[in-house]
Amino acid sequence: MTALRTLALVVVAALLSAQQLKFNLDYLAAKASDSVDLSLNGATLQFAAHFLSSKDADESKVKKMIASLDGIYIRTFEFKDAGAWSPADLEGVRQQLRGAEWSRIVGVKSGQEGENAEIYVRSENKKINGVAILVSGPKELTIVNIVGPVDLDSLASLGGHLGIPKVEIGKHK
């Protein structure tokens, strides 16, 4: 029974590890003027959920969203000067996103600002169980990896909440 439970845990850990992108961009932090590194695994999310109020509209929404998540991993860098990072820095992440389970649902390229933004989703049995957001500009680099079933509409609906201005547009999937 214990062996079976251990095996199940190993399988679950392996599956979660497959969903989670691996990115080690610590070396860019030294060049960045501002950087954020968030690694929140499932246990941390569930622990944080106890401190999110159900009465507060924003917190209640986030609380519902994290209930089924297995992790959120974010790296953002802002640079004073352009060219502080190179596309090769993102290659390791892109390589992982080329896997069959990942598909790019949105790709935006802004010629004027030199900005690229992409959203990838990881599907299994026709259900989304992971999202990756890559946003890169001459002076900015952001990687967001949400592990677990994500409702993109709920994520987008946070516009107008958390101090984010609401953008009214048609749904694009």
Binding site: L38, F47, E59, I72, V106, A117, I133, A156, G170
Partner: protein, 95 residues
Amino acid sequence: MDWLEQELKNTLARKDPPPDFADRVLRGVGRSAPSPVWRHSRWLAAAAAVVIITGGAAAYRQHQGLVAKEQVMLAFRIAAVKVNHIQTHIQEAVR
């Protein structure tokens, strides 16, 4: 009665204690036994230690929880900002 018998009789004869004997015994007992106040203060110190440790652990857990909550809120803020940003670009492209 020979001299030995007389010696024993004298030695083992009942002797009354001096008049201040009872007072001296009571004073000695009072010095060696801990006072009820001291006994209570030891329990109070132990109880205070338990309260401080338990309270400290609860406060630390509360602090950790609030830090985790702030991190989660920041993570969603960043993710939502990026999704909104992408939506804005799409909206501009559609126009």
